[in-house]
Symmetry: C2
Subunit: 185 residues, 2 copies
Amino acid sequence: MQMLEQKHMALLAEAERRERAPTDNIRACFELLALTGAIDRDCAVRLARHRLSEGKFVLLFLLHDKPEGLSPHELAERAGVTRATITGLLDGLERDGFIVRRGGLSDRRKIAVALTEVGQTAAGELFREHTEWVASLFQGFTAADRQTLTGLLQRIWRNLETGKQQAGQERAGKQQIGQDEDARA
Amino acid sequence: MQMLEQKHMALLAEAERRERAPTDNIRACFELLALTGAIDRDCAVRLARHRLSEGKFVLLFLLHDKPEGLSPHELAERAGVTRATITGLLDGLERDGFIVRRGGLSDRRKIAVALTEVGQTAAGELFREHTEWVASLFQGFTAADRQTLTGLLQRIWRNLETGKQQAGQERAGKQQIGQDEDARA
DNA sequence: TGACTATAATTAGGCGCCATATTATTCGGT
DNA sequence: ACCGAATAATATGGCGCCTAATTATAGTCA
């Protein structure tokens, strides 16, 4: 069951042919990406059954205990996406009857986004369902297992950060002073 | 450095508040997703510097040793995306001068997609750069480390598949016979 | 007050992905 | 030779995400 994606198998085959960089490492990376890709797809399929996406689900759950509503601005911050993205998600949620936009606040630039009955119900049921599903993916894992995994992942994190810094320095070197356009990342 | 995404932190906090499903498992899952999310974003940033996306890069590399070109159909198969997606990627690649579409084949429905000089050069340089970057993420990993990681990931795979089957059965039960719309996944 | 600046939400446009048409061409069978 | 089925590429429209531009409103300060 070494599930790799099509594109990754092609890339790996070529890398092996060229005997370039350590292909074992590449394979390991692709295994990681394939798994999370599958998780994301499964997540999307599950939520799609309720006319939701992951982004929409997050908004629903952020609003579930806020009867007075939140502003798009706050939603963007808490969900970690831009306000423009929020606008799009809200359009869909409003169309499907999960939320309402309320105006008429003291600051007339702002609006309040709140759940409808339907949204409230969906939020409640789905939060339970979703967290149980996520937890089930690690069924059978002991604390030690999780610890081991976390340790390995952190080592990858560090390598990733190191690579970013190096790339930044190289580019800065090439173009004199060179602002780091990756600062946000 | 327990890097989690904004949305995941919000979800986790709420899950902890409700003391629902084992939050340690949820946290572990989110760590996994956060890491691969960061890898994907970094990958996108690196390729964007060359006016490429991951999808486009895959096509470039699939074409690099095919001077006579490949059909969109073949590209779709090898890249693991639909033909419609290929059309879009090719539009961009053609606009940016990486590839050309050639007609006039014996089967007049088909076209051949081939790299230009520019595309050829880019493909060569980027393949090296990209594989080295991917491999560098696992720098310092021993064979045993990789083995450990693969083992853990496979356990998650199995849990994921199990969950899919169960969900399928439940839905099949609800709606009498119920075709399995997940067969493709 | 009036101009400037900051902030809120939205729009516009782009990208990658998808599913579902649509159009052109080929091929099989009678 | 012709009809219908299969196949190739593309068009269309949707979704989620982004950045940059736009519009409305608020607050500040000379």
